[in-house]
Structures are given as structure tokens and as C-alpha cells.
Amino acid sequence: MVTRLKKSWSKPTRARLSNLPASLLIGGGLVGFLVCVALLSFVWTPYDPITIDVRNRYLPIWSDGHILGTDKFGRDVLTQLIMGARNSLFVSVVSTLVSLVIGTLLGLYVAAAGARLQNIISRGVDVGVAIPGILVAMVLATAIGPGNAAAITAIIIWFIPVSARVVIGPTMQVLSQDYIEAAFGYGRTKWFVLFNHVLPNISSIIIVQASVMFAAAILIEASLSFLGVGAQPPTASWGRTLKEAQPLMEIAPSLMVVPGLAIVIAVLGFNLLGDGLRTYYDPQQARKR
Amino acid sequence: MLTIRDLKVTIAGHTVAEVEMLEVREGQRLGLVGESGSGKSMIVMSILGLQPKSASITGSITFNGQELIGLSDKKMANIRGSLIGLVPQDPTKSLNPTMRIGKQIAEAITLHSSIKKNKADQRVRELISNVRLPDPDRILRSYPHQLSGGQQQRVLIAMAIASNPMMLIADEPTTALDVTVQGEILQLILTLSRELGMGLIFVSHELGVVRFICDEIAVIYGGHVFEIGPAHAVVNTPLHRYTEALISANIAMPKTQADIGREAGKLQSIDGSVPALGTFPNGCRFRNRCVYEITECALPVPMQNADGSRFHRCRNPIREKG
């Protein structure tokens, strides 16, 4: 009898674009747009992001030359947004990738380790997951000073146990399959088996997880820079733009609405992408949800 | 009492059950027999209005002259439990795991009578002794997981008869149970239906068991009634080729009532398996697995009257002692 994996994270059959889940298309579109905007900022922005223009302060939305208006220094809001997208993506890409690599390795190692070590590390992972990333960031900011570095390190520290936790269960399930025993029978080493047999089988889980973590990282980055613990001036950041807009909410409410919408769109995009990928990789399971 | 006419249940465009005519008279015990996936559960769930949400139903089901199809969930709820009781398939999954047994039985009582919650206790104890459960104090305070499967099924039977219904529907009530207690549960259902004068629809895949419990048997396949008649006649002189196949598959058919359950585990199946929804052949739905297939089997098969009380739908039936 053929034993089948309980949840199928095997490769799906190739689907036509129209057959893809809607959430995947919408999420992918939003994320793609975001990435394009962030990349665009390296070659072109509507205005210089730092130059101060005192004559054109607090221009409303749809002003001539400034589609989204200007802030209290007369800087173009659209430019600030584009630069903010760059910072947001930079922080989330770096922190997510680093923590995914470390977390996955840790997860693989723990899953293949003996029961006692597994117990100890799993306990530690549980504790790690429970500590909010923002707290870690604040402790770090006290130690090394506020800035992107503190934010990124904090997110990494918080995400490592999160991603390890996601990997451990499925890895153990794959390791219990017959063909893994066979591979060990050939005399393959533990890491060879983990990389060549386990990793391909759980890759879809990791990809989905990455998308979800991107979304969370964007939220944390925004929160941290809102609190003044993240990116420091003159680096543009959505969270800090909001912080600066807070005392001006009666004069220029649009300054507050626009960056918030940018955050919502970015987070929504990655969340939908994650949902869509999950459906794409595992339609049966997703239909139940 | 219960009359089903031209019932048709469809899910996503596929017909899962099609019944021209089925009747249960007061106090009568009807057995619905067929392999799993034959649509027999779907038929009984349609009677109670408990079919899946995605199913659509046409035709007519009347109970004491009242049409059940098209009734609102609220009106249907008044009939469920009070006029028709259900003994479910898997007792271990059919009780709310987070509510004490006593409260769940009391719910069955208070829903259909003026008895207040605090006064229901006496009736609950009466029911518990009716289903031959010992130590009512312990049972009442227990949560489902603290009881055995057999005890849980007794509790569910107690709920089903709480309002003295006119009819009981038992949907494979012993399939999920340990072989050793199957016989006791069957005996209990039979005894209760006799004592209380309840009609019974007994759904099972074991023809041999149904023979001892029911007066009449309907053999179901692919949602169609293939053969219907008095229990002993259907088992001893089957008319439909499918019935015959079902009987010969049932090698370990119990000889006496006392044997029920003892050898149920030895059941064997007919060659091939029940096709997936929507892949049944035209005409006779069984013909792709039937060794007696003739060309006419590809045509629609009407219900035929064999001798007054017996009906079948087979193009090439077994001739009596031919």
C-alpha cells in the first residue's frame, strides 16, 4: 500500500492563470506593485525626498505637481511614500530571509535530533514565540540605539523561533516516511537527507510562511518607526510619516490617511499572497477552511 | 404513517438518491440494506431534514399526512425528536464532548414538553433505566468521553425515545461499536420498538442482521430501491441479482438471533466497488458489476410487482425455483 502524506505539500499540477486562487492573483499583484515601486525609487522619484520647500507646505491632495500633496516641510508625500516602501521592504526582506534561513536550519536540526534535545529546544522555541517582537526591539534600542539595525535584529530574534516552530512538525512527519529510512539505509548522512529529501518536501510550507512573515515584519517596522525606535530621519518610513502627521491631524488629515493606507495595502498584499499560495499548494486543505 | 413518493436528492447535479415509493406503517420495522455509498443514509437524513446543506430535494415525504419537504428548519425541528427519533451511526462522535450526559438527555425532554429543566431529572432517570444503563447518578454527571461506546449509544437511544416518538430511525447503529456489544444494542433497539410500539427504519449493510430485526427489507443500490418485500422472502428467495450477490457475499450470515454480532466481522464484499458519484452506468446502476447482465439492462428499469407484496427492478431476475 502506498502511504501518503497526511497533508499534501507535494508539487501541484500546473495550473492556468485563470485557475489560480483569486487571493493569489490579488496578493501577488499588490506585492508585485510594491516591489516595482520600491525598485523604482533607486532610479527615480517625483521629487528629491530630503529637500525642504517652505513655500509649498501642506498642499492638499491633487495639487498641481504634488498628487498626494506635501507635508509640513513642503516635501512631496508621494516621494515620501515611495521611499517608505523601499525602507519597509528592505527591513522586512532582510529580517525575514535571515530568520527563515536560521529558523529553518534550527527546525530541521531539532526535528532530526533526539527526543530529549527536542523537548528542551521546543520549550525554548515556545517561550521565544511568546515574547513580542516590539519588546525585543525596545530592549535592543536601549542597548544599541534606535534605528533600522535595532528593528531588523529584533524582528530576526523574534522570527527565528516562529519559523523553527513551523518547520519542526512537517519535518518530523517527512522523516517518519519509509523512503527516509531507506535513504539512511544507503548510508546517507543526516544533513544530506534533510537537505535533499526533507527540504524539497516542506518548501511550500516555508514559502507560505515567508509571505506571512513579510506581512508581520512590515507591521512591526511601521509600529517601531511610529514609536521612534525604528528608522531615524532622514530615512523615510511609513510609520514615522504617520508619527509626524499625528499632531497635524486637524490641519492636514490627508497626511495621516495616505501612509496608513500604504501599510494596509502592503500587509494585505502579503497576507493574501500567503493565503493564495496555501490554497495553490494544498487545495483540499484550503477548501475546508 | 410515513410515505415517500418520487423522492429525488441531488448534490452538485448528481442524483444521490431516487425513491419512487417507500412506506412505513405504524409499528412496522423496515430495513434499508446496501453497501456503503449506496445512498441509504441520505434517504433517512432527508426524512429528518438533516441532509447536507448542498443537497436539494424534490418529491414528497409525508408523515401522518403532513408534507415534510419544504418545511422550515423550525417546523422540522418540532417533528425531529418528538415524532421521529434518530439513533446515529457513531455514538462516540454524536454526543457533545463538553456537556454532561444528564444535561444532553434533559435537552431532548424539555424541547418537546412543558417539563421545566429542573423537573426533567426524574424522566431522565426513567430513560436511563429504560435503556438498561446501571448507576444513573454516575452516568448523569459524566461527560461523554468517560463512557464506553456502547454506553454512549444507549444514552443516544435514551434521547431518541425521550418523547415517545412514533418512529425511530437507526442509521447503522452498531457499525462503530465493538463487536461484543453490537448484539446487545441491536436487541435493545428491537425490544424498545416492540414495547413502545414504534415504527423503525433500520439502516444497515448487513442483510443478515436486518433479517432478524425487520418485517420488511428494501435493498438499496446507487440511490435506487432495487428490491423490496417481506424480510424472510427477500433473504430466502431473492429476486434481484444484486440482492443475491449481497447474500452470497454475506458468507457468515448469522443462523440465529443469538449469533448476531458474533460473526459480523467476517462480512465480505461483492466484486468491484460502488462507483463514485456521477459514474454510475445508464439503465440498471448495478450492471457494470453484475455477472448476469443482458442487453436490456442498459435501458431504464421500472419497478415491477412480482407477487403482491414483492417488488423489484431487475431485467433478468432470479426465477422462483425455475
Binding site: 511568546a130 534606535p146 499625528q246 | 434518530l86 468517560q146
Partner: protein
């Protein structure tokens, strides 16, 4: 652990405090004054001992007693955190159930889309928008600040209403999605069908027999949300200028007051622990099977 993190990465606290121009002598003098010349574990026990004997000393700037300050600021933070936890758990149970019952029609899909968007809205932005709409434009609620609950009960509720709404939004959305999927599983359970067979309508059967069962996995998920909840509390305090632990922490971070940061973080972690413990108790109360397992029966 908090202590270790700060010590490992912290560099020289005295050096940071005095700035780059400080002379070597000044640094050494300050280190002795702060007790930083001692071995690390002596410092650690000193701190932990101080923490539990209600004596953490005064802050570097000398303006306040750290322990008293934490005590004062605990109440608004607890109100916010527990208030939001309660509001979002209850709301999510009903919204998620509604979404599950209507999973195949537009009402359910709409609930689903709203909760998906709600998950993406950062709490502080929701707070800002609420202030613009309900305080600045409509004037229904104060835009910020906190009225102590012992002074004016209604005024206090008014002052924390918007913060709780802002904080609950995201957590309600996430939890709603979990309730929905838990409820979809429960709807397919045989005991719902049996309850209907006893004479319950579908909606009543789900309400009477489904809610508690669906709440069990949700409580587990709720425990994982606690970190986010407290993180949100810190941010929301900043939006609404509520003098809670988050504000204290923030000012301590900016002033590099290590002892204060350590202590506040420890208090917040303790709050998470207590909430976790409470949810654990709730879990045991919801599911009788757990109790039997724990008793070894």
C-alpha cells in the same frame, strides 16, 4: 533573559549616559555610583531582589522612584490589555460563527473580506483614524489622556473606549478567522446533527453545542496572540497619550535608563505569563477532557 540581552549588547551604560566627551575618570566614578563595577551576577541578583522587594531605586535622572512609577502605570495598561482581550475574544466568537454559518453566501464572504482587511490595519493607524473621526470631528470621545478609574468611572471608560476599539480591531480580525475555521470543523461534527435530531434548529444547535467546542481551539490561538496584544498596547498608549507602562518604557528607551527598561519589560512579560495562565485555566474549564487527562484518569 531580559537582563542578559541588555548586558550582552548593552556596552557600557555609564559611557552611553555621559556621552562621548566623558573623561575616563567620570565614567569610572559613575560606574561605581551605579554599582556597575560589580560582577554581573551580583548586579543581577541585586536587581531581581529589588524587583521583588519593591525597591528598584530611583531613575538615573533622579526624578522618580522606579517601583512606584511602575505601580502607578500598571492600571491603565492592564485595563487596555484585558479590556481588548475580552472584547476581541467575545466579538470574534460571534463574528466567526456568523461567517462559518454563512460560509457559502455573500454575507459570509463579506465578513471574511472585512476580517482579512482588519488583519492588515495597524492598531496605531486605526487609533489615529478613530481620533480624527470620533474626537476631532464628532467630539464624542477625548482624543487622548487617561482618567484614573478610581476618580471617575464613566470618564475613565470614555477615555479608554477608543484605545480599546483600536487595539481590538486587529486581534478581533485574526481571531475571527480562527473561529470561522474552527466553527466550520464543528459544523460538520455528528453531535451538531444529533442535537438537531433531538429537535434543535440548526442555529440553536450551533449556539448551544457548537460555541463552547469551537472556543477550545480559539483559546489556544488566543494565547499566541498575547504577545501581539501587549505590543499593541505599547503602541496604542503612544497614540492616545495614556500614561501606562508602554509610555514609561518608551521614555526609558529614549533616555537609555537600563534599569527602568529591564523592569518594565519584566513586568510586561509577567503580564503575558499571567494572561497565559488564565487562558490555560479557561481551556481546562472549556474542555472536560483536559481535566481528566491532567488528573491522569
Amino acid at each position: 533573559m531580559v537582563f542578559a540581552l541588555l548586558r550582552l549588547l548593552g556596552g557600557d551604560v555609564a559611557y552611553i549616559l555621559l556621552g562621548k566627551e566623558a573623561t575616563q575618570d567620570q565614567v569610572i566614578a559613575l560606574r561605581i555610583e551605579l554599582g556597575l563595577d560589580r560582577i554581573w551576577f551580583v548586579q543581577y541578583f541585586d536587581w531581581i531582589g529589588g524587583f521583588f522587594s519593591a525597591n528598584l531605586g530611583t531613575s538615573f535622572s533622579g526624578s522618580y522612584e522606579i517601583f512606584d512609577q511602575i505601580g502607578q502605570r500598571l492600571v491603565p495598561t492592564l485595563l487596555l490589555a484585558f479590556g481588548s482581550l475580552f472584547v476581541s475574544m467575545v466579538l470574534a466568537l460571534f463574528l466567526g460563527t456568523y461567517a462559518a454559518l454563512n460560509a457559502d453566501n455573500t454575507k459570509g464572504i463579506a465578513t471574511d473580506i472585512v476580517s482579512q482587511i482588519g488583519t492588515a490595519i495597524p492598531a496605531f493607524w486605526a487609533g489615529l483614524i478613530l481620533v480624527v473621526v470620533f474626537s476631532v470631528s464628532l467630539g464624542w470621545f477625548p482624543a487622548g489622556g487617561y482618567v484614573p478609574i478610581q476618580e471617575n468611572f464613566l470618564g475613565s471608560l470614555r477615555s479608554i473606549f477608543l484605545p480599546i476599539v483600536a487595539l481590538s480591531l486587529g486581534i478581533t480580525s485574526v481571531t475571527t478567522r480562527f473561529v470561522r475555521s474552527a466553527m466550520l470543523d464543528v459544523l460538520n461534527e455528528d453531535y451538531i446533527r444529533t442535537a438537531m435530531a433531538r429537535g434543535q434548529t440548526r442555529n440553536r444547535a450551533v449556539f448551544v453545542h457548537g460555541l463552547r467546542n469551537a472556543a477550545i481551539p480559539v483559546v489556544t490561538v488566543g494565547a499566541l496572540q498575547l504577545g501581539n496584544l501587549l505590543a499593541g498596547t505599547i503602541v496604542i498608549e503612544s497614540v492616545f497619550v495614556i500614561p501606562g507602562l508602554g509610555q514609561l518604557l518608551l521614555s526609558a528607551v529614549n533616555g537609555r535608563e537600563v534599569i527602568v527598561v529591564q523592569s518594565v519589560v519584566l513586568v510586561i512579560l509577567l503580564i503575558i505569563l499571567v494572561m497565559n495562565f488564565l487562558l490555560d485555566i479557561a481551556y481546562g474549564l472549556l474542555d472536560p477532557r483536559i481535566l481528566d487527562k491532567r488528573n491522569g484518569a
